[in-house]
């Protein structure tokens, strides 16, 4: 600070001296001399103030923690962006709040408008999902996370007892003990970590670039088990700069309805298990590469008993210039006693680019493909096959809200090809 003041003073004097050499009238010279004298007095005052401040900055004794419940010195009125602290930065008073539990609440929402040339559909608005997210530190090492969704029902108001307008669902409910970075153990209901997208964006439409998820990991879909109830061990290791992360899970697997997890209990005595590993190399900041294996025994209603093995892989470039996400899934179904084995494949690749000249805009494109053989006894009749292209533009019109405009072209076996226009406003609060 002293150096800056001295530099400023010297520069000011030089500027004034240079200015004084220019031809001027006698009265101008007199005014300038007055001005110079005033500025010199002002500089003297500032320098003495700087010296005073520097001398008062002797090393301080540590501030007692209890004194920090209020900030040690009243902070200046922060800029609005600092006040509007979402989870990216909580007010400092919370830093020293050692009382547990300390619940934090945030939310996500989206409003959609879709129009399609698929027969039997109507263009119109759709309320999307209303999501509440809870996180609460119960102690230094124990944390609870919850995610609750409210989704508009198509059968609202119908039935002898009229159906409610919205379906509430506990999407995630996780209690976790963090032993260290190498080992964290949790129990609860998760988004199954066999898919990058499934564990990266959850129900936060605002977080994902596109308006909706790839079809193979749609909520309520049957292709992969989106939810998982059980226990999970996770952690990370440096691994020579590769930053190896892992998840090991044991749980109930799918219920008798393929799209549902065994929330109430398992439908057989065979536990589902999964293992996921991925790396994030130091030398390629932004890159994530990984894969998963998932095993379960299926006893779905109206389907034969089967062994299910899901293998998946993903490659992600996290940055936005460009952003790249690609995932591949193979779902192997083996029917015991018959020797019948089928493989179902799905993959998608998505690329986006944050425009450098208009940072609020991000055009994107995604191609996705699902193939299920007719011989597959588990997915037969579900008509999961798909080839789809999505082209869109995301506009971040605020720090916490985005508008997305999409065009989709979809081909499904045995159905007419469809064109879909989709507009979405998504936000976090």
């Amino acid at each position: 600070m002293h150096r800056l003041t001295t530099l400023f003073s010297a520069g000011l004097l030089l500027s004034l001296a240079a200015h004084a050499q220019s031809p001027t009238s006698g009265s101008d010279v007199a005014r300038q001399n007055d001005l110079i004298q005033q500025l010199l007095r002002r500089i003297d005052q500032l320098e003495s103030r700087v010296t005073e401040l520097e001398s008062s900055r002797a090393p301080k004794a540590p501030v007692p923690t209890e004194a920090l419940v209020t900030p040690p010195s009243p902070p200046p009125a922060p800029a609005p962006s600092a006040v509007a602290t979402h989870d990216h930065g909580t007010p400092i008073t919370e830093t020293v709040n050692t009382t547990f539990p300390n619940l934090k609440l945030s939310g996500f929402g989206d409003i959609n408008y879709t129009a399609s040339d698929r027969p039997g559909t109507h263009a119109g608005f759709n309320e999307g999902q209303f999501i509440l997210h809870f996180s609460s530190a119960l102690s230094q090492k124990v944390t609870y996370f919850g995610e609750l969704s409210l989704t508009a029902r198509t059968d609202a108001g119908t039935g002898t007892t009229p159906a409610p307008g919205f379906n509430p669902e506990v999407e995630r409910s996780i209690i976790r003990y963090d032993q260290s970075d190498h080992l964290k153990i949790s129990f609860g209901r998760y988004h199954t970590p066999v898919s990058y997208w499934n564990t990266e964006f959850h129900h936060g439409s605002w977080l994902q670039t596109t308006a909706s998820r790839p079809e193979m990991i749609q909520f309520g879909g049957s292709f992969i088990p989106v939810h998982f109830v059980g226990a999970l061990a996770e952690g990370s290791f440096n691994a020579g700069g590769l930053n190896l992360n892992y998840n090991l899970g044991l749980g109930n697997g799918r219920s008798s309805v393929l799209s549902r997890s065994g929330d109430f209990g398992d439908i057989n005595n065979n536990k589902a298990w999964l293992a996921t590993v991925f790396i994030k190399p130091d030398k390629l900041y932004g890159l994530q590469v990984g894969g998963s294996v998932y095993r379960d025994k299926l006893n779905a209603t109206g389907r034969p008993e089967a062994q299910e093995r899901i293998t998946s892989a993903h490659v992600v470039w996290h940055k936005e210039n460009p952003e790249f996400i690609a995932e591949f899934f193979n779902i192997n179904h083996k029917l015991p006693g018959t020797g019948r084995v089928t493989n179902n494949q799905a993959w998608y690749a998505q690329v986006a680019y944050r425009l450098p000249m208009a940072m609020s805009l991000k055009p994107y494109y995604r191609y996705e493909y699902i193939h299920t053989p007719r011989a597959d006894a588990i997915f037969s009749g579900l008509n999961l096959g798909l080839s789809s292209s999505t082209l869109g533009m995301r506009w971040d019109f605020s720090s916490y809200a985005a508008f997305k405009l999409e065009y989709r072209y979809q081909e499904r076996p045995g159905l007419p090809n469809t064109n879909v226009a989709w507009a979405q406003t998504s936000f976090t609060f």
Binding site: S15, P71, I92, N243, E320
Partner: protein, 153 residues
């Protein structure tokens, strides 16, 4: 008078340029059992990917509020993110259940210094010219803020 004003503005811009080139120091509380980190390790701490100094001591990350020049240096060199990307990164991280809360905001260098002194496991970044005696300054790749090729400036 106009010439004088123009020269003053030029001088202020020059001073601002010099100030922005000043190194940013990473300070930690004295109980942090680390003196030197690689740049990649510093990045992991600031990204919330390393959350423990050791099994008994959690990392407590303090961030300067937006507009502080030191924050700009950290966003540019460590995070390689814009302000908006930084916000989304932490919202996403909490939503993924990776952490229960994002970094804590501090509003001044003095506040950062005081809190790093007081909070076990705390880490913050400040203007290297404004570190009071007694605070532990982390080396990055073996270099302190005054050294040549120090990465945070």
């Amino acid at each position: 008078m106009r010439t004088l004003t123009v020269k003053l503005i030029a001088l202020l811009l020059l001073i601002a340029g010099l100030a922005s080139a000043a190194p940013v120091a990473i300070i930690v509380s004295n109980d942090v059992p680390v003196d030197d980190l690689s740049f990649a390790e510093v990045r992991k701490v600031f990204l919330g990917e390393r959350q423990f100094w050791n099994p008994k001591l959690r990392v407590v990350l303090l961030m300067r509020a937006p507009v502080a020049p030191e924050r700009d240096v950290v966003l540019r060199s460590i995070y390689q993110m814009s302000e908006a990307q930084f916000r989304q990164y932490w919202i996403s991280k909490v939503f993924r259940a990776d952490v229960s809360a994002g970094p804590k905001i501090v509003y001044s260098t003095e506040m950062a210094n005081d809190l790093v002194t007081a909070i076990p496991g705390a880490i913050a970044f400040v203007d290297a010219a404004q570190i009071p005696k007694g605070l532990k300054v982390l080396k990055i790749d073996g270099k302190l803020p005054g050294d040549k090729s120090y990465p945070l400036r």
